[in-house]
Amino acid sequence: MTEKLSVEALLEEARLNASIPPPAERLRLREAAKLSRAQVAETCDVGRSTVANWETGHSEPAPPARLPYLRLLKGLAEIYPPDPTPGPTADPAPHPVPAPASASVPAAFTGAPETLRGADGRAIEGDPGPCIRCGIETTYQSTDGRPLHSGAMCQPADPAAPQTTPPAPAAPAAAVPASVSPTPVPVPSRPERRARSAARAQADTTALIARAVQDEAERAGGDEDAALKALIKRAIPDVMHLFNETRATARYDYTAYPALPDVLKKPSKKDPDQIWEARPKFHHPGYSLKVPGDVKVTALDVNAAYLSALKCWLPIGKLEHSAGSDGIDPKRSGVHLITPGEWAHPHLPDPIGDRDEPGALWVTNATLRLLQRLSGPKYGLTDAPVIHESWTSGATENFLDALRKLLSAARDEAIENNDTLTLEYVKAMYSKFISTMGESIHNREMVRPDWMHIIHSQAYANLWGKAFKASTAGLDVVAMMGTDELHVTGDWRRVFPEGRGVAQMKVKHGEGKATGEYTVGTVGR
């Protein structure tokens, strides 16, 4: 190939390329000549799979292999011209005027291969594939082994194909140049060069939520309760799908089924493991509902507390053991056995939660981070916790962030549109995602009880932060309970924005005395 190609050769190549047969025809010609792909590949000095790609249309022949291949095809086409015998349905002889059925079969396809038939005359079925004429899947085959509807009765997919052919006897002859099989719908020969942009990917994933709601609403036919029930039922598989979508371009793989340390193993189905999540149950000792008084208290509610808690440091891999404070690293997370410092602020909730007995306990990394922050120079509220041992792994704070943003955006939109169905669906998705990511028969996609504990305690830590903010602004924290409940005295609106957004607070209404706005009395001060 060192000699320079002459002008003639180039012209020949261009001429041949202008009339290059479609991929299916290339395959037919080679098979008619009983040549193997390897033989063709060697002649053209390319790989065998390249030839296969040319014949399936995945790629087009390119120089320098193009010229020999085109010459080969031209020569083969002269030896094995396209089959001029018309297909059985297009036989014009008995019908001077074709019946409508046969008229709908364009003459351009009369040269299409015939159905593969066995000795008994019955069509033979094989592997299913898209019919070479109409593209619809079929198990019947043509004589050259490609999928084709039996008797070629199907309608061609290409609307541009000539639909009305005059029944002139010359028609088959005129059709000969075009008598090759229709080319399949062109598949892009290369994967898309550009990855989906982040915004586009997010829009696609958001559309999944809207589509699920729309589907179930349609299926329920206006019955909103039924639609909601169906949506909640599919919330777990759906949120796992969303999660996997957000992980599609992720940088590292997480471990979904790690070997668990004993502290994270549940002794039985009903008994909990040894992790203390620091769930708060705080009541200010200076106030009481039982004492008559006129201190105005407002019960506040954090919106979507668990959704916000998805932003937390999560261990990616399998947890590994370390003694002492060796496992403590800003870039690691897990569970830790600690002895917390003394908490000497009765007017503020204990960040370790409502705990009676003293001593060491297993806490999550979210709680430990809060305790370490509070023992630092900025707060100085308590002594640093003593860390005895840890089970940790390399961690990231952004692990579930894409999912959080996605669900949060869907939630905001639903609130704006007063769309209860989507709102409840989103709520079911994130809450069930968290509650079933440990050991659950409802979600077998991952077994990460450590993540579940960390997210729970992150929610409690976030709530503690809000209580502290209220306290520093001069409000008294009367109670702090559960995941999202904060009762404060005074004008809370100058501390927290009011609303339903994740960064806002709303007044909690419910059963019982201590809801909404109520009054308490002071005790012993």
Partner: protein, 191 residues
């Protein structure tokens, strides 16, 4: 078991043979009566399950419960409570039968219409292994198909050798490093 990792723990690596991990992971798929046999509810549910079919009586036979029909009727009617030994045998018989009954379902779920199941394989824990002996092993994930019928049968019959052979078949697909996954820390899948 394949290869050179015959004495796990010689260099302080921690893990368990792949066959064990495979059995544990299959075991994790089995659900059944959650209440313990010591509770009235759990006992009644087990007796109920074991006396519904002939297979139940066979399971009780295998577990070594040889009592007169009268005694059995008294247990079922909750007039008498089985003694501690028989309670634990009843529990064993129940889980034995339950495993046999769910085996078909497990095979179906794992075979997934011939598509198989994606298995996550986590390597042995090397944190205590001296640096120069540590190997660079990552978590691997591969689609496993075609072996699940054998695996479930072996697990059901407690056939350790067969389970081991199945595990060797599975890890062969991991490529040149397959040997390092003869022992693992855990295995898991969603099926």
């Amino acid at each position: 078991m394949a290869g050179r990792w015959m004495d796990l723990g010689a260099l302080n690596a921690r893990g368990l043979p792949g066959a064990d991990a495979l059995g544990v992971a299959i075991e994790r798929m089995v659900t059944g009566i959650a209440s313990s046999v010591e509770s009235e509810r759990g006992l009644a549910a087990r007796l109920n399950y074991l006396t519904k079919t002939d297979a139940g009586y066979e399971a009780m036979d295998r577990a070594g419960i040889h009592v007169s029909p009268r005694t059995l009727m008294a247990w079922l009617a909750e007039e008498r409570i089985p003694n501690k030994a028989n309670r634990s045998r009843l529990d064993a018989a129940y889980w034995d039968l339950r495993r046999r009954n769910v085996a078909a379902d497990l095979k179906k779920r794992l075979n997934n219409h011939g598509r198989g199941t994606r298995v996550e394989i986590n390597p042995v824990d090397q944190t205590r292994v001296e640096g120069r002996h540590q190997r660079d092993l990552s978590s691997r994930s591969l689609n496993v198909r075609g072996v699940w019928d054998r695996a479930v049968d072996a697990w059901m019959n407690d056939d350790y050798d067969e389970l081991d052979a199945v595990w060797d078949d599975i890890i062969e697909d991991l490529g040149s490093e397959y040997d390092a996954y003869s022992n693992v820390s855990s295995v898991g899948w969603a099926a």
